[in-house]
Every structure is written in C-alpha cells, then in structure tokens.
C-alpha cells in the first residue's frame, strides 16, 4: 500500500467516521435546535428552518415563567437534597461496615445487592408497583404515604444496593491500618468515626453525593405513578403525552433544563461511572 492511497483511505474513513458520529448524536442536536427555534409550535423538519424562523430563547423564557414548572423545580430540588443527605448518612456507614466488619449474612446480603443492582430495571419497576399497591392499602388505615416527603426515602432505598457496593469497594482500597492505628492509640468508636473515617472518606462522600443527587433529580417513573410533582413527573406525564407533540418547543426547552444538571454531573462523575461498571462486570 503506497502512502498516497493510504492518505485517501484515511480521509475517506475519517469523513465516514464523522458522518456516522454526527448521525448518532443527531437526537441531541435535534432537541437543542427544537428548543431554540423561533416558532416553538412546529416540528423542526430541517435545520434550514432555524434560519427561516430565527433563533430565540422564547421557549426557555416560557418554561421559566410557567408556574407548573416552577413548583416542580422546587419540589425536585427539595427531593434531591433530602435524598442526597439520606444517602450520605445511611449508605456510607453501611458501605464502611460491609468493607471492615464481619457479621452474619454479610456475604448473602452483598450477593443479593449485586443481583438486584445488576439484573436490570425490571425488579426495580416491580418493586415500585408493589410499593404503589402497598401504599394504597395503607390508605385504608388512614396513612397517606404518597407525599413529597416520603419520596426521598423511596429513592434512597432504591440506591442502597448499588451505592453500598460502590462505597464498600472504595473503603476496600483504603488501608485497614488507618483505623487500626487509631484503635491502638486507644480512641473510642465515636472518635474513630468522626476523626478517622469521615476525613478519609471524602471521595466516598463525593461519589454518593453525585449519584444520589443525579438519581433523585432524574427519577421520573416513581414520581410519575405516585403523582408527586417533580420535574420528572412534569415531563413524564406531560411531554410524553399529547402535549409534548403539540408544543414541542416548550417541552424541548423544559427537558433540556431538566437534563442539564444531570449531564454536567454525568461528565463530572464519568470516571466513577466507569469504576462502577467495572465493579459490576467483576461480579
């Protein structure tokens, strides 16, 4: 193979490669274009229409001024913050215990957590539907659990299997001698937790915070069937219905605003996600 034909081949391969990549990323390009087109009620047929109707942030302004969206945004923030706090205070200690301690049923539980976090979304959906029926039955006794303040507990519980594994494998990498040295110094458990473990688990905090916030912000199915007005509910019940197709510009803008924090956190947490997948594959 001579060098000039190799160059042509390279050029050809690169152009093909770019075209394929752009085609695969087109749904993102499209939804952004749909959100900024000057006439939000039409479905964008070609990018020429961006020139024809002009570019405007009108759809975004409409979304920001929409009262329903505002309520949902506040609820989502509330739910995401509570979920994150719960996850930090409940899952990190548990992950630490799974890493350092020996107790009855530890391996069984870890195995169980692995299966439910790797078997796919089906078990999660079934658990949610079962929970929905259970909450309905509780209503017969006058206990209404389908509320904004219950949602973070449901979310945090769903995060337990995967994040326990994540935190456990993080602590597995930290040398045991760190906590053992403190014991030998005669520290009690309270001191060890606050002086040794907390400072050493900064990365675990960030990990749980990222995943907890991202999970709670992005979740829509549970909020959707429980009828709790978060952004996920807003888009799942409205943009996925007829309204989403009748007013595509508005909902494109709304879903971009909903998606932006998740995409940013996704990029930030990229290397941890890779880590998490490796953990899953190892199991």
């Amino acid at each position: 193979m001579n060098s000039s034909s190799l160059t042509i081949l390279k050029l050809f391969a690169t152009i093909t490669g770019v075209i394929i990549a752009v085609a695969l990323a087109y749904p993102l390009v499209f939804i952004i274009a749909q959100s900024i087109i000057g006439k939000g009620t039409i479905i964008l047929r070609s990018l020429d229409q961006l020139i024809q109707y002009g570019i405007s942030i009108e759809s975004f302004i409409k979304v920001v001024n929409n009262e329903g969206f505002q309520t949902c945004l506040l609820n989502t923030l509330l739910v995401a913050v509570i979920t994150t706090i719960l996850a930090i205070f409940i899952i990190i200690p548990s992950g630490y215990a799974f890493s350092r301690f020996e107790f009855l049923g530890k391996n069984t539980l870890l195995y169980y957590y692995l299966i439910v976090s790797q078997a796919g979304g089906g078990l999660g959906i079934i658990a949610v539907l079962a929970l929905y029926i259970f909450f309905y039955r509780m209503a017969a006794y006058g206990v209404n659990l389908m509320q904004v303040y219950v949602l973070p507990f449901v979310y945090a519980s769903g995060m337990v299997p995967f994040q326990t594994w994540l935190v456990k494998s993080y602590f597995d990498q930290l040398p045991r001698s760190l906590d053992e040295a403190a014991f030998i110094d005669g520290a009690n458990w309270f001191e060890i937790i606050f002086r040794v473990i907390f400072p050493a688990s900064k990365a675990a905090f960030i990990l749980v915070l990222l995943f907890g916030f991202m999970g709670a912000w992005g979740e829509f199915f549970i909020a959707g069937i429980f009828g709790i007005k978060t952004l996920g509910w807003f888009l799942f019940t409205q943009a996925m219905g007829q309204a989403g197709l009748q007013n595509p510009g508005f909902y494109a803008a709304a879903s971009i605003m909903y998606a932006t924090p998740i995409i940013i956190l996704f990029i930030v947490s990229q290397k941890y996600i890779g880590e998490a997948y490796r953990l899953g594959l190892k199991g």
């Binding site: 490669g17 215990a97 519980s157 829509f220 996925m240 494109a252 990029i267």
Partner: protein
C-alpha cells in the same frame, strides 16, 4: 486465627449492625417488603375497589341482603307485595284504558276544545290513582324502614324512575287537556299526540316490568340477593388461591407479551451488540483521525437523560411530520411492526455506548504488533476480525452481552414513551383465543397496565400475579447469567 480474633475485637459486630441497620431497614421497608406483600396480594382478588374499601358500603350491602331475604320469606311482606302488585295492575289498566280513549279522539283530529268531558275525567281519575304510587312502592320494599339501613333498592331503579316519569307525564296530559278548554289555540293536537304516545310507551314498559316481577317474584328477589352478594364480595379483599395464576395462563395478552418480549430480545440484542462492536472496531482503527473527539460524540446517548432522549425520539419518529419517520416512511401509531422496529432502533441507540466502551477496553489490550502482523500477512479485514480481534474481546463482550440481554428482557420505558406499546388491535393466540389490546405490550408493561393504567388499571391481585411470574423469568435469566459467567471465569 489470630488475625480473625483481632478483627473481631477491633470491629465488633454490634457496631457493624448499628452502621448497617438504617440502610437495611430502609431497603427492606421500601423494596423487599412490598415485594413480599405483593406475593400475598397475588393470592387475593385485590382491585381498586377493595384495596381500601368503605366499611359503610359493605354494611349497606349486608343489610340489603338480609332485608331481601325477609321480603322473600316472611308471609306478611309477601302479602303486602302481592297486594301492591294487584293494585298496580289495576291502576295501570285504568290508565291505559283512559289513554286509549284519548288516543282515539285525537286521531280523529277533532278540535282540542271538543275533547269529551268523560274522557278527560277518566284520565284525571286514573292519574290521581297513581299519585301515591311511587312512594308506596318504595315504602313496601324499603329496607331502611324495616331497620336495615342501606342505599340499595330491591326494586329495579330503572322501573322506579320510569314510574316517576309516567306520573309526571300523565299529569302533564291532564293539565294540558284542562288548559285546552280555556285556551284552545295554545294547545295543538300534535303536542297531545306526542305526549300520549310517550306515555303509552313508558306505560307498556312498566306494565311488563312489574308483571314479570309479580309472576317471578321469588326468582327476582333471589337474583337480587345474588347481585348484592357479588357486589359486596367485590368490596372485600379475599383469598382466592391460585385463581389469578390460572387467569394469567389463559390470558391472550400474557402470551402475546411473552412472545413480543422474547422477540424483542432476539432482535435487539444482536442489533445493539453488532452496532457497538462495529463502532468500537471502526473507531479504534488508525485510519480514522480525531478519534478522541469523535468518541466523545459517540457517548452522547449515554450522557443524555432518558426523558430528553425519549422526547427527541418521539418527535423525530412522530408519524407524518416527524423528520426521521418521514424519511423512512414509518408510522408507529398504526403499524405494529413499524413500532417494533423503532423500539429496536431506540434500544440499540441507547445501549451501543455500553457495548462499544467494553469492546474498546478489550481492544486496547490487543498488542499492536498482532494486528500489524496480520496486515503484513495480507489477511483480509473479515479474517482479521474473525480470527484475531473477536477471540480477544470475546470474554468481556460475553459479559456485556448478558447484561444487555437483561435490559432487553426487561424492556419497559421505550414502548411506553414512544407510543404506549400500541397500536391497539386484535391479538390472537392459537389454542387460547382472541382479545383486543396493545399489540406491542411487553411483559412488564402488561403488569404496569393492570396496576396504573387509567382505563384498566387497579387489578392489583392479577397484576401481582403477573409480576411474580416476571420475577421468576428474571431469576431464570440471572441463573443463566451466573452459570455462563462462572464458565467463562468472568
């Protein structure tokens, strides 16, 4: 031994339990317990009416049943009822005679002011006989007065309503006849004709209704008791054993969902694995320049939150005016297989970054000289792929394929967001039968529809049975996954 005792001193079990317990309680209460609870639900007739019923309503039905039994069995009440039926028969006959006479006159098209007095009187008389009748019927068959408080009526509500409207209708005729004597020009013959024909229709319906009731009184009351019993039972959560499972294995939609789900696994898994591997191999090649930037672009489906992707795909594939649907000529709202194809495309698009990343990781481990050597040998592209690349990526790819098979087996959101698993049409399964439903309903969607759908939702017991079967299917899949991963040592 020494290490173990040291660790059990330094890391006492009670501290471990203290640390693990909150997460365990949270998890057990919101995830595991509802699942266990739903095993119980699957053995009951739970539905939207009985999941949290109103005790007063149940008591009402019980009272109505007890009352109907007394009406049927006590001679005193039977006599009252038969006296009432006799009375009704006579009164109805009188009214129909009066209406008949009136009709005859009207049909001769005489002046409204000249309707003979005796006809008017007869109508007025037979109407006046009816006055107390609706309340008398209600009183004779009134359970609340017999000290059985209930809102249910023993006598068919339709019949009672018709009796009321007959009374008001014949009252109107009587009034109009009187009015016609004073102001003949304001009452037309056609108005009277209209009124009498209406009255005749209702009267004949009521007559036949009550005479049937009188003739087969015992039978009717027994039927009513059965109906109350059935309605009451529907309000009560009952253990019904394996009935839901029996229903499931005779449900056409279950077999359709099983078929569609397995078909989806068979089509989408090869599609997404092939796409992911091809992209990984293509973009690992030295021939493509600027690979890093392009790879970032390729990870877009992974980075986009599901709802954003879903909205984009929904609009792109909307029949007629969606840009991609228009180019490909796809109509997922009316064509079953077009919709199925779009699900496959969407799933492949969502999942290829995973397969691609895994394959790329494995390809990175292939020594450059191995590939270069095959270039020098002049091995064909296909041969290189088949003999050199594939064996090296086989193991991680196998694990990734198993995981992504799980995703396809549990497909749920894609059909729901794209077109609600539609279109709706006739579903036929050999040896079982036919029904109407969403043609592309997957297993999880069937369970979801039975729980939360606006039209048919609320069949909780049946839904719980459906997803217990799905859990078994998922566990079977997990068992296969474990077996394979143990065999490959992954």
């Amino acid at each position: 031994m020494a290490g173990k005792s040291k660790s059990s001193i330094l890391f006492p079990t009670r501290i471990a339990l203290l640390l693990v317990l909150p997460s365990l309680i949270l998890y057990l209460f919101f995830n595991t317990w509802p699942m266990v609870f739903s095993i119980g639900v699957a053995l009951t007739n739970a539905n939207r009416y009985n999941i949290s019923p109103d005790p007063a309503k149940i008591k009402g039905y019980e009272n109505a049943i007890a009352c109907a039994k007394i009406l049927k069995e006590t001679p005193e009440y039977r006599d009252k009822a038969s006296t009432l039926f006799d009375k009704l028969r006579i009164y109805f006959f009188n009214l129909s005679h009066a209406l008949y006479k009136l009709n005859e006159i009207i049909n001769q098209s005489i002046d409204v002011s000249k309707i003979p007095r005796d006809i008017r009187d007869e109508l007025a008389y037979s109407t006046s006989q009816l006055y107390g009748l609706p309340s008398e019927v209600r009183r004779v068959f009134n359970c609340t007065e017999l000290n059985y408080t209930t809102k249910e009526e023993i006598i068919p509500v339709v019949l009672l309503d018709k009796l009321d409207s007959l009374l008001s209708l014949s009252g109107t005729i009587k009034d109009r006849l009187q009015y016609a004597q004073l102001f003949p020009e304001e009452v037309s013959i056609s108005e009277l004709r209209n009124l009498t024909s209406k009255a005749n229709t209702i009267l004949s319906e009521i007559e036949s209704g009550f005479s049937k009731l009188a003739v087969r009184y015992d039978e009717y009351v027994s039927e009513t008791i059965e109906r109350f019993q059935k309605e009451r039972d529907e309000l009560e959560l009952r253990f019904i054993g394996a009935e839901n499972f029996a229903k499931l294995f005779n449900d056409v939609r279950f077999y359709n969902a099983l078929y569609k789900t397995l078909l989806f696994v068979a089509t989408s898994v090869p599609l997404k694995v092939a796409l992911g591997v091809l992209l990984a191999v293509f973009y690992s090649s030295n021939l493509v320049l600027g690979r890093k930037a392009i790879r970032a672009l390729l990870l877009v489906p992974w980075a986009m939150p599901f709802l954003l992707s879903a909205l984009s795909w929904r609009i792109l594939f909307r029949p007629q005016d969606g840009p991609v649907a228009a180019i490909l000529g796809l109509d997922m709202y009316t064509n079953e297989w077009h919709a199925f194809l779009v699900y496959n495309l969407f799933e492949a698009w969502l999942a290829y970054p995973f397969i691609m990343t895994v394959t790329q990781g494995a390809l990175r481990g292939i020594p450059k000289d191995v590939i270069e050597a095959s270039y020098i040998d002049g091995a064909s592209v296909f041969y290189r792929f088949r003999r050199i690349i594939l064996p090296l990526v086989a193991k991680p790819l196998m694990v990734a394929t198993i995981l992504t098979t799980g995703a396809s087996l549990q497909v749920f959101l894609i059909p729901i967001v794209l077109n609600g698993a539609g279109p709706t049409g006739a579903i036929c399964i050999p040896f079982i039968g036919c029904t109407s439903g969403p043609l592309n309903e997957m297993l999880l969607i069937l369970g979801y529809n039975k729980v939360a759908s606006g039209t048919e939702g609320g069949e909780y017991g049946y839904a719980a049975a459906i997803y217990l079967v799905i859990v078994l299917i998922i566990l079977a899949y997990v068992a296969v996954w474990f077996k394979i991963s143990r065999k490959t040592g992954g």
